[in-house]
Symmetry: D2
Subunit: 376 residues, 4 copies
């Protein structure tokens, strides 16, 4: 081999500890013993900080962006990312989750593209907007959840005279780490609309329009080939708030509880609607609270309606309508509602479960609240 001459003779590394460390670095080798306890600490550590963004701060900034930034100037989306202050300037809400506010002005369109990161849109304010996903125009009303799964074409369109704001949740930080980000622009500005809320018509009532997949792995060797059962992402792309609201009411009434949770699932397999994002809505009646728990994996909470507070590792975060906060991995958290509240939660839990890394711990006693979060 021709490069042999370039390599140092073996005995050249009979060196001191300091020289060894230098030689290691020169060869792109890194001694574990220097970073051992940092990589595998005896107590769980999280870079992600518990944090809360107030709507009354977000809204005027988003509006001002609407004035100053055109969709053209701003790339193809006008988005303010919720950048966790623990993540050293990266525009991520947690190490795995991207949370942001997207602002679409009157009669604007955000052009069509697709990417491998999965995304969800949860509508906070406005109406008259639809997102076209692979040709199916999905209406967006406050409280609606719209999926734009991995590698699905999507564009957003506002036909109204008012701007619209929604929450964007993506698995972008995780897909970035996996070095699996692929992106493509659609040939035209927007896709042709071939149907309107069709996925909801087909999949939104809990009975399937297509043959359910077999109970076992696949059809027998004797079977004729049939259409594939589809991918990991939900064929249902729109979960309207009217349905969410009705189900939560029914659950509260039916179970006589003061907290109810619905999970947005893929009707084709009963799993999470997206393979990387857990999506749910928690309704708490006035005075209700959830038990303190800590979980591996992080989540972003959008306060759709109501007010209350969440205690995270002993700090109280007061929240009102449209505020957004993040619960980092393994941080003890409990929610308290001062009035009837709806919390929309986006998490990375399906990832941890799929990889055998999920764990949770119910905490017996409410931790004392020793501090109160005051945003900068």
């Amino acid at each position: 081999m021709t490069d042999q001459a370039l390599s140092p003779p073996v005995d050249a590394v009979e060196v001191s500890y300091e020289e060894l460390c230098g030689a290691l670095a020169a060869k792109n080798l890194s001694p574990l013993w220097k970073v051992n306890r940092e990589l595998m600490p005896l107590e769980h550590r999280s870079s992600t900080l518990p944090w809360l963004w107030r709507w009354r701060s977000l809204l005027p900034m988003a509006r001002r962006c609407g004035e100053l930034i055109t969709i053209d100037r701003g790339g193809d989306r006008r988005v303010l990312a919720l950048a966790n202050p623990g993540l050293q300037g990266r525009p991520y809400t947690s190490t795995t989750l991207w949370g942001a506010i997207q602002y679409l002005g009157p009669h604007e369109s955000a052009p069509a593209h697709r990417h491998t990161p999965n995304a969800i849109r949860f509508v906070i304010e406005g109406e008259g907007v639809w997102t076209t996903v692979n040709g199916d125009a999905c209406d967006m009303l406050p409280g609606d959840l719209i999926l734009t799964p991995s590698w699905h074409w999507h564009d957003h369109n506002n036909s109204a005279d008012r701007p619209m704001l929604w929450f964007d949740g993506l698995d972008l930080p995780l897909v970035g780490v996996l070095e699996a980000v692929f992106f493509e622009l659609y040939p035209d500005e927007t896709q042709p609309v071939v149907s309107r809320n069709l996925s909801e018509l087909l999949y939104g009532k809990g009975i399937a329009p297509h043959e359910p997949r077999p109970g076992s792995v696949r059809d027998g060797s004797a079977g004729t080939a049939r259409a594939p059962a589809g991918g990991l992402a939900s064929p249902l792309l729109r979960y309207p708030y009217t349905t969410t609201d009705a189900q939560l009411e029914a659950m509260l009434a039916g179970t006589r509880s003061d907290v109810a949770t619905v999970h947005f699932v893929n009707p084709a397999n009963g799993r999470s609607a997206l393979p990387t994002l857990g999506l749910s809505m928690v309704r708490l009646l006035a005075g209700a609270a959830t038990a303190p728990v800590r979980r591996a994996g992080s989540s972003i909470v959008v306060v759709f309606r109501g007010s209350g507070y969440t205690v995270m590792n002993g700090t109280r975060f007061d929240w009102g309508e449209k505020d957004i906060f993040v619960v980092p991995s393994w941080v003890a958290a409990e929610h308290h509602a001062l009035e009837r509240s709806d919390l929309f939660v986006t998490s990375d839990r399906p990832v941890l479960e799929a990889l055998g890394l999920y764990r949770e711990e119910m905490l017996d006693e409410e931790q004392s609240v020793s501090a109160r979060f005051v945003p900068l």
Copy 2:
């Protein structure tokens, strides 16, 4: 071994062919070569015959039974089984499926019991009846589908002044062959009703009240134990016709087709609502037809609404509202609607799929109709 003396000496079987056959029978041995082509025929054979039962015959008989047979006298259910004439007197509609009409008089109750065979109830006529399934009272209106899955307590109750009739579909013939029939009477006449249509409230809107099961086999070794994800049967017990109807309409409108099919699935896993029974509703607009196909496994069709005919292996079976017919395994079948029609189909397809035995064949040309079925 003490019974050695009872056994014939080896050379005792140096016998003629005829003597050998006798000796074999005496030892409970059966020569394959005598039944070879019967057990494994070169062409597929089905004992189950294509057959149709007319409602105008069924109804008066069911009424007369209502007069003559008390629930007491009639065991705990007043049921007329659709006995396929090909099955030598056994009360089964096909070799795997039990189809029947159940009649519940005004102010009658059919007492609570449970059994391992799975059952469904599809309401044909009447109202004011509910079936309590493990404590959850499920209302029964025409076109509604009610599940009473394996080993779930159930009783039927009619609070109205009119009798009620519904279709019973069970996997009883199959479970019988598996010698897995277990049955138990409830201690009391009926169960206490602890909720009303609760399963529908919880599971009927396509968003899950409980944490979806992980995408992979099970939670990680690091995970804390959590509640099991449930059994094979659907937690949703009631599929109201109002929903079925709305979805079919939406599908026809959304896809601009003249045939639409919904499958009743288990929302927890996207598979068939029951592990042994495939359940679907087919809507055909006037003049529409399905392509000829033959499938391994049998199905029973209840004409909920409309009129038309089905060609099975070249024989035309005319049907009208509430008629019931059976499509045997591997019989070529095609449906033609003369007016807008709803066909409720119960099949054994999930069984064949789970065991790798399902196959189907699309037939290119409509077979000529060479005969017309005339019931005896």
Copy 3:
């Protein structure tokens, strides 16, 4: 509708109970109340009887068949089915399982065919035989298990000067009830042999020659299409006794137990090697016994080596080498080894599990043996 005139007027059925019963039969309707307790008995019932076939009876009969029946005369296989005396003359060992002895004379071949019922061959005596399965010649030595899964071409060939006998286990009774029996003759007498024990080379060491299937349902929508993960049946077709024996020894040594069981599984998914048949080998050391248990579903036990007895519902069945017996559904059974014994077990358990019908009950106390089985 033209056949209306043929139908009796409704009031014609205002008849007596006896007349009603006749009218029902004429219309292919069967009243449940007459057969209620027979179909759903309060105590579990099984038609299949516990039974045992002695090798010293089987062997001379099989030999005599070898002399009297040519493969030509005898259809394409020379097989003696173990016909359970509880099944009214049907040639089945239980309601779901076919058990039989197949005899292949010196230099004979059983011609190639395929069928949807799954089959296994467990070698009892002889050597020099191979079964070609879809082109792969699988050697057959005593104690070897050979699979001929659903719809796989197979022929048996004896190149030796001695006859060979093996046990055939099939799901034929079940597939027959499902009316899913399909059969096809191979164009030639035998298949060309394209490989020899290749499946064993590829799949027999617990590490996979092909990419393991993804942990989740299927690859993502972004993924390129790849080869299907295969069917329900094992790609491993031969499980040699040398491996079975070595593993059983290792387990007994490693766990210091006196009973060890191995299950023959599909290495591609860890499930049973065939979707309809459970297959295992139980080794008991001299004096060892299994705890009494009753299980839904039946099984056939081939005594490969050793001697002992099995108590079934209070009757003792003594067994020696190569005897075969059947354990019916829900019959309490316990095995006792007088010397080191290997029991090869074929069951229908995967079927009951796939359909949610499996149950078992461990019995605390050994039931008293009140009778001893003496074959006719």
Copy 4:
């Protein structure tokens, strides 16, 4: 809310673009439009660089570490991480994979601990070492693969007079990003050894010691509770090279190919032995080559035996015995063997597949080699 006064009035943000950017940063908001094309580039980008570490550089450094670093001083492991030069000083081989050389001196023990990251050990040099995993001592010989799955206790022990070196592969970078790293020291220095290679005895022959899991999701509602089928990680902890070698030879002979690949799978489910790591061995005969392909996700290749070269994105990386190189995500790669070679591959592919993010592209033509890699 008390902190309301701290928040700026809405109209205070009627500011210039520059002021807005400052205000956004102050509120932990990050504008997407500045990083749009960096986060979602039009062409796929990978920080991980193709890289190769030569054994003749690694070995003397590892030896010198053995002299200078005690296990005590070095934390609990003496490990040199292969630090990819594209990852800005982080000690990771790719963004998801940790690759390293571990050196254990004569008569040393690396103390027992457990952590949520999954790890594998692939033995490069030495003998007389075993790793105890949850009480089962697994022997380590060159070419053996040993699993220490997530949250399993493990310690390494060298009873020989020679040092030992092996390759460590972990999913630590990924689990770190998921903020799911948990770590625990065992109370004692090492675990008691309760068995020796037991997992191999029980699970290493492709037939299962325990009841295979049901084909469908879980047992029926009627079933009695049974032991859980286990976690995501393989119960087989040791894959000896003797088996790997024999299978590769059989595959080459049986398929008459010049390249064969075995995948190390979990015998309980046929999936990858660990939920986060793909593990395989590729054998190339002299002169053989693999087709060029690029795949989402990265892999680390340990040259166990042989020599050859790998072309990655047009650069040729020559390799010899025990060299280690990394193939980054979406880098076109093809392997060429100059002599018979065994390549041990650790990848993150199961993660990408589980999340629906896996894709690959076969490249038709070999890319021209325009450069040759010369390590610094």
